[in-house]
Amino acid sequence: MADFPGTDALLDHLENSLRQEIVRRGIQDPVMIGIHSGGAWIAELLHARLGIREPLGKLDITFYRDDFSQIGMNPQVRASHLPFRVEGRDILLIDDVFYTGRTIRAALNEIFDYGRPSQIVLGVLLERDGRQIPLRPDCVGGMLDLPLGQRIKLTGPDPLALSIHANGT
């Protein structure tokens, strides 16, 4: 395991990137959704920094994972809660690490079961190589090349810290 410093800098960069994207797309009144658990921690901070009017939504994508038939039910699953109507809204979707894209696919499927948003902007603290489906984030705090067999873990929420682990540790 190795420490991966700089979450503050990554968060600043992600915030700036989101601000630019909001201006570029002409978004007036966005809502924000964080993906449980790391994405929700980051979303809590960004939600305050960006001064978003409506409360933060949180998604646990367990029920939408594509590997249920292999790994079964995770008993630690939490209820998703979107305290606003999704229909026609501009959504900032936040996660900690973008890797294969499967988590985001599951999150998009879940969001669309709540309604049809106008648009979704995906922001992630860190993007690493290894996409398995044709999705990618709109805004990133930073990029990282990691060999296969290693994974990044975000611990938090206070303090937020990224670390690198070998798979299975």
Partner: protein, 324 residues
Amino acid sequence: MTATDLQLDERGRLRHFLSIEGLSRELLVSIMDAAESFSSVTEQTVKKVPLLRGKTIVNLFFETSTRTRTTFELAAKRLSADVLNVNIATSATTKGESLLDTIRNIEAMHVDMFVVRHAQSGASHFIARHVAPHISVINAGDGRHAHPTQAMLDVYTIRKHKPDFQQLTVAIVGDILHSRVARSEIHALRILGVREIRAVGPRTLIPSDIGRMGVNIHHDLDSGLKDVDVVIMLRLQRERMSGGFIPSAHEYYACFGLTASRLALAKADAIVMHPGPINRGVEMDSKVADGCQSVILQQVTHGIAIRMAVLSMAMRLDTRMETP
């Protein structure tokens, strides 16, 4: 092989769900926690999640049921499973086919799970011992033996209102002798550490050995209700009564019917439950059934979330892909 051995796999996960007896507190809590998570599905515009997409669940009801069958069906559909309702009253079993032959034939249709209700105690256990290894069996009520999902939805309803089980006194009132619900509830409440469980009813409807399950027996409703936190009323199962267990429904109501004045003996914030269907004016007064302390309709709603939890936790994994 005991029900517990049959119910859990080598990693302690649900394999079948046949009986509450022998399960751990942790497992019961995890079923309730999963149900809590599933409750958010009803907030969605599309009220379903894709968890069991491609799986086929067979409702195999050898006894009539409305509430249990429909909530199992709705739970399965909210998990995106395909549901097959086999109406046994019009099926080949009435033409002389054996239970095992019926099971083998439905297995041959590549199904993944049986939800079984049967008038014979132990029927689900029997089926679980004989089904193909990839099929799970859920007990939706077997004779007088067990109705584990009803017990789970009842303790889940209690937890919603009174989360600290160790502080609770629970009265189970009525026809405990014929009630598979009561038996499963007593096991669940004991496992969750409820302080006191009371079995309340006439001598003819309380099994003589029920004290061995760790309950206190009351043959007087007033003393049974005194200072309780939860009142669980049971249906008089007259279809299972072959003799004179009660003089008349009228007299039963006079002695054991729950009225507002009797409910006043319980704690002021006590909740009233009933697994349904209610016989109004026999087990309870309509003013109580529809009153502010009644959580009877919440039980029905919670039944869907609990059954979603049990169906998803007991569904067999794809062993060809399972990680070690």
